[in-house]
């Protein structure tokens, strides 16, 4: 359990670090549009709104994770429950069946590509966004299917 506690602490640091980066990104894209205009011309409001929305959404997720992890660190029962939740063999099987790790990596990369492409081309942005949504939907359907199967 001590090792798991260390892993949880590391994740909390990562989440806090990500939140700081997100704040920098949101403030930069919100207030320094003059700098961005040099790179991307006149970036559409829809894209800027999407980028800000993604980062705010991710920040909320990180805050939820940090709260959950803090609770787990302070109570042995919660820590055990969280450990079981993450290491349950049926869940691991489902994750393996849908290629969870690989899909998560693809979704993360596609999301980063969507945000970056937003600065350069609206067409590429929308195409990548459609791809990202399709992958996320496939993952969701597969997860539902295997949860019902096993």
């Amino acid at each position: 359990m001590e090792n798991f506690k260390k892993v949880i602490k590391r994740r909390m640091h990562f989440a806090a670090g990500f939140n700081c980066l997100a704040v920098v990104f949101i403030s930069f894209t919100g207030y320094r549009q003059d700098v961005l205009a040099i790179v991307s011309g006149n970036i559409s409001d829809m894209i800027r709104g999407f980028q800000t929305g993604v980062f705010i959404g991710l920040q909320l997720f990180m805050v939820i994770f940090i709260t959950k992890y803090k609770k787990a660190i302070n109570s042995e029962d919660s820590l055990k429950k969280l450990y079981i939740e993450e290491n349950d063999e049926r869940k691991k099987l489902i994750r393996d069946k849908i290629g969870g790790t690989g899909l998560n990596f693809i979704i993360g990369s596609a999301a980063a590509a969507v945000v970056i492409s937003g600065f350069f081309s609206e067409t590429v942005f929308i195409t990548l966004l459609a791809v990202l949504m399709f992958i996320a939907m496939v993952k969701g359907f597969l997860k539902l299917y295997y949860r019902n199967k096993f």
Binding site: K80, K81, I84, E85, D88, E89, R90, K91, L93, F150
Partner: protein, 68 residues
């Protein structure tokens, strides 16, 4: 795979949650085992049998496997 988990649980007046916590899995895994949707790994089968203080073959029905 057929199991006697539900029967044993009722005998010892255990909830799925309590058994799950004792053997280190989620409640849903115990449900799946009882509904014969999921086959336990060797380690989980061992833990469950040990928890009820019974040999594995008395908790899990291996007749389907023996037929192969």
């Amino acid at each position: 795979m057929r199991t006697r988990i539900q029967e044993l649980r009722k005998k010892y007046k255990l909830s799925q949650e309590e058994l799950a916590l004792a053997v280190g899995v989620t409640r849903q895994t115990i449900t799946s085992l009882e509904c014969e949707k999921y086959t336990a790994s060797l380690v989980l089968a061992y833990k469950i049998a040990k928890y009820f203080d019974l040999p594995i073959e008395e908790v899990f029905d291996f007749s389907e496997v023996e037929e192969l």
